[in-house]
């Protein structure tokens, strides 16, 4: 009984201390920075951006905080809006990844800085295709590639367009897996590539505000047919992993031969030895798998607004943009003209001229709901 009492009280103390309110106040010279990205991005900031920025700007430091996911960032945005109304300190200065349209009304409330008019010296270098709003700063991009086990599939046989990919999946049942579209972008963008396939390979047909129930049903029903047709040939007769990392894990354990992956995550996995160095990477040539840009936001009413703008300018510099390519495996947010010539040369093969993107907004909900209802239930799974 003593053992038990001890354990119960120890558990109580631990639980209690976790619930104690954390007192914190924003400090002058410490940029409160939040991200919703995966841990490889946080590592990149911890090891590369933060030391470089702090060395270049004595007296300013960055407090890196993981906000968890997009909803976490939105919650902090809502806090900043509430703080603005009360004239209080939002305790936030910089979002590494955010959507200027969320939380709704943030721009009208004046909590996001108009980056276009903030006078950044590097603003003109930004890739014009990546700009979505004057209030957010696209500083890195990422694409989804297909990663494969080169011991089971030679580079020459790797599928290079959608039809070859479908043929390969059907010829090699159980050797392909993609994750659930809402649980990570690698599976999500594979599903979006299928939407492009079903609708004439035209990414411009989908915009953030052209979702209607009628158009959605028409475009997505064709997509679900394609994906449901693939399901019996997938891993375990139609199982879907629950995240980007789990897909990479299945590839690493030699369970599947091919899976869609984020370019930055797979390069880091290879770098860390999670995947072997000879892991093959291929991009579809008829239309690349969708990708996207990550956009940073500066909080207008933050204590360190000016220092945050310096940081925003700093991440567009050639030093950081090159590191995004070499260390993160991402894409630069600036136009290719502003990347050093040798890097441009080195990445010419895997870098497509454009990264097709797919809009969010109402499309997200329709895709996430429709896929679960029409593709995920696989009645024949145990047959």
């Amino acid at each position: 009984m003593k053992r038990r009492d001890f354990m119960i009280s120890a558990a109580g103390v631990v639980a209690g201390s976790a619930l104690l309110p954390r007192m914190s106040f924003a400090a002058e010279g410490v940029i409160d920075w939040y991200t919703s990205s995966d841990s490889n991005i946080l590592d990149f900031w911890t090891n590369t951006v933060k030391p470089a920025f702090e060395a270049a700007n004595p007296g300013v430091s960055i407090n890196l905080v993981d906000a968890g996911d997009g909803a976490g960032i939105i919650a902090i945005g809502e806090r900043a809006m509430a703080a603005k109304q009360q004239g209080a300190d939002p305790q936030a200065d910089f979002f590494e990844s955010g959507d200027a349209l969320l939380p709704a009304g943030a721009i009208e409330a004046g909590i996001y800085t108009n980056i276009k008019e903030a006078g950044l010296s590097n603003y003109d270098k930004i890739n014009p295709l990546a700009i979505e709003s004057d209030y957010s700063l696209p500083y890195r991009g990422s694409q989804v590639l297909l990663a494969y086990d080169s011991t089971k599939l030679s580079a020459a046989d790797a599928p290079k367009n959608w039809d070859d990919l479908v043929a390969w999946i059907k010829a090699n049942p159980g050797q392909f897996v993609y994750n659930r579209p809402d649980k990570g972008g690698s599976g999500g963008n594979f599903v979006r590539r299928a939407i492009h396939q079903a609708n004439g390979l035209d990414p411009s047909a989908f915009t953030v505000d052209n979702y209607t129930e009628e158009f959605g049903n028409e475009a997505l029903t064709k997509t679900w047919d394609i994906l449901a047709d693939l399901a019996p040939s997938l891993y375990d007769n139609g199982a879907y992993s629950s995240g980007n990392t789990q897909s990479i894990q299945l590839l690493a354990q030699g369970v599947v031969t091919m899976t869609p992956v984020w370019s930055d995550q797979v390069l880091q996995a290879i770098d860390q030895g999670v995947l072997p160095a000879d892991t093959g990477l291929v991009q579809l040539q008829d239309l690349a798998l969708a990708g996207g840009f990550t956009r940073s936001i500066v909080i207008e009413n933050g204590v360190n607004r000016d220092a945050s703008l310096k940081l925003a300018d700093f991440i567009l510099s050639e030093e950081i943009q090159s590191a995004i390519l070499t260390e993160l495996g991402g894409f630069p947010g600036v136009s290719w003209d502003y990347v050093s010539p040798e890097l441009r040369e080195r990445f010419a093969d895997i870098v497509p001229t454009t990264i097709p993107t797919f809009p969010g907004g109402a499309w997200d909900g329709a895709i996430n709901d429709g896929w679960y209802r029409n593709v995920a239930p696989n009645v024949d799974r145990n047959s």
């Binding site: 038990r4 659930r180 809402d182 199982a239 879907y240 789990q246 354990q253 996430n368 709901d369 995920a376």
Partner: protein, 294 residues
């Protein structure tokens, strides 16, 4: 939580002096927190799903979202898999934990101490770590497969991403609490009663069935209702180990709310989940009340 299971003995001195408002003040804070953070959101959720505008915009009593849930095969499948998982876990927990508790109650020495430590160990493992360990061990080409392969045996049919994945994970996760509650129940079984039964020739099974089980039925009920309450609304293990579809209510609610941006249906799912949980909770309350009535 565990010490809530057996009824505390009444204080020896139960005079009116001890019924001053001090006691009420002490419970005021937890009662207030429960009312504020649990009861109020529940009332709010029920109200928001039942009293809302219909298609024409007129605000009134509206059961549409509940009608949708119970007429939607996809939602029904999710509810069914949740009930199935909960039932399987409850059965497996009893089958696994009852023998462990009986062993720990009726043996002495160092070995039972180690067994107890082993049985309590899962309490200290966060479920996210458990999930990844599960994938490494029982997942495809995991440790079990490697061991089987090394002695020339075929691979197992992995439970990863099937409905059995969450069942195995949740059972392991709930062993400590169940064992502790059963153990405290077994403390009520007097050695003399068992010896007396043996003296008149009862065998082991008869002792268990006629002497031990009636004494601990209350603890079994409490242990199962605790486990069931946690399992019914669990999130992490079904999310990481279960199939994409059907999904348990926890991941289903979360996805409807965040990924599908459909708060109304998410709240409806939550209210329905809550109704099932309150049914299980009533078992617990009833058995505690019965115990205190003795």
């Amino acid at each position: 939580m565990t010490d809530a299971a057996p009824a505390a003995p009444r204080p020896l001195i139960d005079s009116n002096d001890s019924r001053r408002p001090h006691g009420l003040l002490l419970v005021a804070i937890p009662v207030f927190l429960v009312a504020w953070l649990v009861i109020w959101p529940i009332i709010n959720a029920i109200f928001r799903t039942l009293w809302r505008p219909d298609e024409t915009g007129a605000i009134g009593f509206n059961l549409d979202s509940y009608v949708f849930f119970f007429s939607d095969q996809y939602s029904i499948n999710n509810l069914t898999i949740t009930l199935w998982t909960t039932l399987m876990c409850a059965i497996l927990l009893l089958v696994i934990c009852l023998p462990i508790s009986l062993y720990l109650r009726f043996s002495a020495g160092r070995l039972p101490a180690y067994v107890q430590a082993m049985a309590i160990f899962p309490m200290f493992v966060p479920s996210i770590i458990l999930a990844y360990a599960f994938i490494r061990v029982l997942g495809p080409n995991g440790m079990v497969d490697i061991i089987l392969n090394s002695v020339g045996l075929p691979k197992i049919r992995t439970p990863y991403l099937t409905p059995w994945g969450p069942v195995i994970g949740l059972v392991w996760d709930n062993i400590p609490l169940t064992v502790l509650i059963l153990l405290s129940g077994l403390g009520n079984v007097a050695n003399q009663a068992i010896e007396a039964a043996r003296d008149v020739g009862a065998n082991r099974f008869q002792v268990f069935w006629h002497i031990i089980l009636p004494r601990i039925s209350n603890s079994v009920l409490v242990a199962i209702s605790f486990a069931v309450l946690g399992i019914f609304s669990s999130f992490t293990l079904p999310y990481l180990l279960g199939p994409a579809s059907p999904e348990m209510m926890g991941p289903f609610m979360n996805r409807t709310f965040r990924e599908v941006n459909d708060p109304l249906n998410a709240i409806t799912q939550a209210v329905i989940t809550f109704c099932f949980c309150i049914a299980f909770g009533l078992f617990y309350v009833r058995s505690v009340a019965r115990n205190q009535g003795k």
